[in-house]
């Protein structure tokens, strides 16, 4: 029996956005981290975030090791965008965020 498939064009750029992983490593006390978070929210970006200063024990060690992998200085905010390639944006850089997020 034939199955039906949705008809119509698939917007590939939207499919890529769905597969994309965006992660923000931030400090809960930091003004630039707050700005970055507001920017992602304002642009409806689907992302995960962690406040590294609020983590303890192994969670903190794990998160810091992750940040270090992308940003050896371990500074905040660090945004990691994985969409086949890995893009890292260190600090609140709006134009660079727009570029890597396709906004």
């Amino acid at each position: 029996m034939a199955r039906s498939f949705p008809v119509g064009r698939v917007d590939l750029s939207k499919e890529v956005v769905k597969l994309r992983k965006v992660k923000l490593y931030a400090l809960s006390t930091c003004g630039w981290c707050r700005k970055t978070k507001r920017f992602l929210d304002a642009n409806n970006v689907d992302y995960e975030y962690e406040y590294v200063d609020l983590l303890t024990g192994n969670d903190k060690v794990r998160a810091l090791a992750e940040v270090e992998q992308y940003n050896p200085r371990k500074s905040f905010p660090t945004v990691v965008v994985q969409n086949g390639d890995t893009h890292v944006v260190i600090g609140y850089k709006e134009s660079r965020l727009r570029e890597v997020l396709g906004l």
Binding site: L27, S28, T29, C30, G31, W32, K35, V52, F76, I90
Partner: protein
């Protein structure tokens, strides 16, 4: 920590800054968020560690990032703002220039090491009084011990070092 406390800290830092030739970021909401961060860190660690850096929680290890940090003045000179953009240049304070992201300076410049000396050259006045230097603002004074607080930038005594030359 309440918004009143953040406001009070803001008023105090603003008047201290202006009295000493420094300027706070003109974006008051942004600064109040930083005040909240400083107060959170004070509760958490016992001192106002930089809100934009991850503190260790041990004062000796975090001395250089207790606000105002050791990097404020070089960052003001080079970028017109400290790492957090709490302190800014006069141009930025007057709205003539925008704040730009400041890269992390901490750890980029190894402590300057002079030539190995048999006896370290430390500063004394002719009368034998030791000279102390504030690592934050560069204030120098000659007295038996550094002041409890720097009269210029108000940081605590443990931010002073012995002034050495050459």
């Amino acid at each position: 920590m309440t918004s009143d406390e953040a406001r009070a800290l803001y008023e105090r830092l603003k008047s201290e800054a202006e009295g000493a030739g420094y300027f706070l970021n003109p974006d008051v909401d942004f600064v109040l968020d930083l005040m909240a961060g400083l107060l959170t860190n004070e509760e958490r660690y016992g001192y106002q560690a930089c809100p934009c850096r991850l503190a260790e929680g041990v004062r000796e290890k975090d001395l250089d990032i207790i606000c105002p940090c050791d990097y404020r003045d070089p960052d003001l000179d080079e970028y017109g703002a400290c790492y957090c953009a709490l302190y800014v240049s006069e141009e930025i304070a007057l709205g003539q220039k925008e704040v730009e992201p400041v890269p992390e300076r901490r750890g980029t410049e190894p402590e300057p090491v002079g030539e190995e000396q048999e006896e370290p050259l430390v500063g004394f006045t002719r009368s034998g009084m030791p000279v102390w230097r504030c690592k934050v603002c560069g204030y120098l004074c000659a007295r038996p011990q550094p002041p409890l607080k720097c009269p210029i930038c108000k940081v605590d005594r443990d931010r002073f070092e012995r002034f050495a030359w050459p």
